[in-house]
C-alpha cells in the first residue's frame, strides 16, 4: 500500500540554512511526530525510534534512515526502512530548495512516498493514508516552526 504526499512551504531562512537543518539528523529527526530517540551511525545513516499507534495496534517503530542525496543548497533526500506492528515500511522523502525573489527566504518543495507492507495494511488499511498524511503534516509544521 503506497501513501504519497507532496506540498511546499516558504521560510525566511536562506537555502543553505534550510539545507543544513534538513541534513542534520539531530535537528531533523527530532521533528518527527512521537519521536522517541535517535542513534547516529555516520554522517548519512541514523536510526530513529518513533511511537506509532493505530487504534489498538500500538508499538514502537525503528526506522533506518539514509541521507540518499545531499546537494547543498538545492536538494536533500532521505530513504528509510523500518518495522512496525507486524509490518514493514519503506519510505522516501525529498526536499527541493530554491531561493525566493530578492533573497527573502527559501521555497521548500517536498514530496515522498511510504510503502507499507504487512498485516497493518489489512488491519488498518483504511486509516493508514489519512493518518500518514496527518503525521507528515505535523512534520512539515514542525519544520516550518523550526525554520521560522
Amino acid at each position: 500500500m503506497a501513501i504519497k504526499f507532496a506540498g511546499d512551504f516558504e521560510v525566511k531562512r536562506t537555502p543553505e540554512e534550510v539545507h543544513d537543518f534538513l541534513v542534520d539528523p539531530n535537528k531533523f529527526a527530532a521533528l518527527l511526530p512521537d519521536f522517541q530517540g535517535l542513534l547516529i551511525q555516520d554522517s548519512t545513516h541514523f536510526t530513529v525510534r518513533v511511537k506509532v499507534g493505530i487504534s489498538h495496534i500500538k508499538g514502537t517503530a525503528e526506522v533506518k534512515m539514509e541521507l540518499e542525496q545531499a546537494e547543498r543548497p538545492k536538494r536533500a533526500q532521505y530513504k528509510g526502512q523500518g518495522s512496525v506492528a507486524g509490518g514493514n515500511v519503506a519510505l522516501t522523502a525529498g526536499f527541493d530548495l530554491s531561493a525566493l525573489d530578492g533573497d527573502s527566504g527559501t521555497k521548500v518543495v517536498w514530496q515522498g512516498e511510504a510503502q507499507v507492507f504487512g498485516r497493518l495494511t489489512s488491519m488498518a488499511g483504511g486509516l493508514l493514508e489519512p493518518l500518514g498524511k496527518k503525521q507528515v503534516q505535523k512534520l512539515i509544521d514542525g519544520l516550518q516552526a523550526a525554520l521560522r
Binding site: 509490518g87 519503506a90 507492507f117 504487512g118 498485516r119 489489512s122 488491519m123 488499511g125
Partner: protein, 819 residues
Amino acid sequence: MSKKDGAKNWVGQALPRKEENRLLRGRGKFADDIKLREMLYLRFVRSPYAHARIVSVDVSAAESLAGVVGTLTGAEIAAQTQPFIEIAPDPGGKIKDYPLAISKVRYQGEPVAAVVAESASLADDAAELVQVEYEALDPVVDAEAALTDRSILHEEAGTNRVWNGVFEYGDVDEAFREAEYVVNIDRMHFHRFSSTPLENNVVIAQWDPKDDRIYYECNNSFPSFAIQFLSAHLGVHIDRIRVETSDIGGSFGIKITSYPQMAVCALASKKAGGRPVKWVETRSEHITSSAHGNERTFRDTRVALDKNGVITALVSRHIDDCGAYPRYEPLGCVIWSQVFPGVYRFKNARIDFTQAVTNKCPVGPNRGYSRMQHLWFLERVVDICGHELGIPTDEIRLRNYIRPEEFPYTTPNGCVYDSGNYPKMLQVAKERIGWDEWKEKQAAARKEGRLIGIGIGTTLDSGTNNFGQSQIVNPGAPFSGNSQGANCKLDIYGEVVVSVGSCPQGQGHETTAAQVVADVLNIHPDRITVRTGFDTERNVHTGFSGTYASQFAVSGLSAVHGAAQKLKAEMKRLAAFLLEAKEDDLEFGTGEQGPEIRATSTGKSINYWGLANVVNVNSAVLPPELYELTLNCRYIWRAPFKVPDKQKKYGNLTLTYASQLHMAVVEIERDTFIPRILDYVAVDDCGTVINPPIVEGQVYGATAHGIGAALMENCVYDEVGNMLTSTFSDYTPITAMNMPKVKYAHIETPSPHSYSGAKGMGEGGAAPIHTISAALQDALFASGIVIDDSFNNGDSLFRAMVAKEISQADKLVRVEKRV
C-alpha cells in the same frame, strides 16, 4: 426412528444424524481438544513482504526469553530435509518448496521461522522478538503479468509458468467456418476466495526419539496424500508416520494442504527432544496463508453458434493463478476438464491452459476445486451469447443442454456423464420460483427504473476422481484410479462395528454408513457403530483415503457396502453350520434377543452374540473348514477407471456427475448499488438420495458458500502483494444473517456407475456464483454492461454503472454475423 410406511430400505430415509448427539452437546473431540503431557506450542514468524530476499534471521532474543524451548529457521530445515515433491513436470517441477522460507519470501504471510515455547502466549511473545531483515523485490500479483517473467519467483524454475497444455477436441476450425454467429469475449475473471471452516488448521506432532516415529493428531482432510509428501520431505519411511484425525470442524478442501505446517511441527518436536508440539492456526493466519481457491482469467474467447443459437465450437485461453507455490497443483490444470463442456452439447473446442505462480498465498483445493471456475466461464459464455443474440437465457440453455436421452453421455474429452436431466431441473426451478410471475414483476419494475434480474446457473459436481488425470499434467505421475477401504465386523459380543478411512467434516458419514450396513443386515442403524476418522496405523485406508472431492457416497459407501456384504456372507456360512440349515433358507432380522439370523424352515435362530462367540472365544466348536471365518471383513473398493490417453488428454476422469440448477432474482439498489437477493431456488440431482436431510444440508451449505463468494468474499491484494482482507471484518464471510430464504427441490436420476445409484455431492459446483452473475447480467445488460467478474458487490457495480471503469459491453464483447 423407524422406516416410513412401506419403505424397504434405510437408504433414502431421513434418519437423524448419529453424530448430532455428540457434536451438539459439545462432546466432539477436535484436534485442539487434545492435550498431551509436556506439550509445547508453536508460533510461526511470517513475512510482511510478498516478495523479498531474506538478508538475515536473528532468533537470539526469542531464544533468550524464559519459557522458550527453541526456534527453527528455514536454513535449519533445508539442512535436514528435502524439498517437497512437486507434482508438475519441469519447469514447475524444478520449484523447491520448503515449509519455511530459505533465502526469499514469496507471499505475505509465508512462514520464515518458528518459535516453540511452554505456552501458546509465550510463543506469541517470542515470535515478535525474531528479527528478520528483508530486501524487498518486485512483487507480481497478476498471473498474466507473471507470465512475462519480468520478476521471477522461483529462480530454479527460470520462469513463473508452472504448466501449459492445449486441450483440443473435434474440428474447431471447420465449426467456425460454418458458424452463423461468432461471439468474441475479450476477458473474464474468476476471483480468488477461500473457505472459512469453524475450526482452523491444527497440528500436534511428536517425533518420538524412543522409536524414531512421528505421531500426528491433526485435522488434515486428505492424510493419505499428506503422508506421501511428508515421508519424502522428512526422509522417514511412510510406515513410521502415524496420522490420526478426530472430529473436524469443516475443511471444504482447504485443509488438504496443511502438510508444510505438519512438517515444521514434527521437526520442532525432534529438536525439542521428542516433546509433542501443537500448532493452532489463528483466523488471520488461515485467511492469509493457509490456502485460497484458484483465481483464473479467461482470454480471447470465441464462440461459434448456428442460426438457432446452438453453440458449435469454443476457443479460449485460460490463465490460472496458483499463488506462490504449486503444492496440490498443477492438478487443477486438468481437473477442470472433468466438466469440459459443462452441461452443454458442443463437441468442438480448444482451450489453451496455463498456470502461473504469483506473490500471493498458495492455492489449495477449495470446494468446487478448479471445475467451478470453468463452469462459471461456460455459464457466462452461454448467458452473454443469449443476451447478445436476443435469445432468452432459459431458451438458449434448453437449446444447448445435453438431452436426457443421451445419458450416459461421453464428452469430447472422453468423460462419461452417468446420468442427469437438466431440462427437468430447469422446469422444476421455474415452477418453484414462479418464473412467469417474476417475469411480469420484472417488466413492471423496469418501468419504474428498478434494476431486477433473473439468473440461471446450471452446474456439475463431479465426484470420485480418476487420479490417472494427474498423468495428463505429468506423464510420469505414479497415480491412477481411485479406491477406498472399509472394515465391517462383529465384535466379540456381537456388536456391528464399521470403520472407514474417511475423515468427515460434517458430512454425516457415521449415519450414511450405518444406513448402508443396516440394509445389508436388515437391522436398525442404531445397532451399528461406525468409526470414522483417519488412522494410518489402526484404521483401514488406501492411498486415496480422506474426505474430499464429493466422493464418499460412491467410494466410501461402496467400500462399506462391500465389507458388509463380505461380513454377511461369513455370517451366513457360520449360521448355516450352527443352525444346521442351508444358506438360502436363512434370513436376517431382529428377534427378541437382538439382531439374529433365522432359518425359515425350522424357526431356529442365532443372535449376533452367538455367532461372534463361536468365532472369537468358543472356537473349539468350529470345524476346520470354517477356521477361515473371522467375522472381521475388510473390503477395498476400486473405481473402474482406465489410465487416460496422455497425449490426446482423453479418458474418463470422474465416476459420477451430480448436477445443480439454481435460479435467483436479484435487485441492484439504485442508491447504494448493493445487490439484494429477492428470491432463490436450488434444485439438486445427486442420484439416489441416501439421507435427504444430509443432502439438503449440504446443498444449503454449498449455496451459502457460493452466495458469499459471489457477493461478499474476495481475497484482495494491493499492488505490492499486501492482502487487504486478512480479517473477518474485511473478508466478510457469509453468515446466516446474510442468507436469503432458499427454496430447495431435488430430482433423482440414479447413477448407473454406483451400486446404490447415488452420486457424490457436497461441493455444489458453485452454482450461486454462476446464478448471481447471470441475474446481475440480466439486470444490467440493457445498460450496456457485461458481468465479466465472478465477484460483484456494491462497490464493483458502482464502478461498472457510474464510473464506467469496467465491463462495458461494447469493449468486451463483439458479435460477428456471418450471413
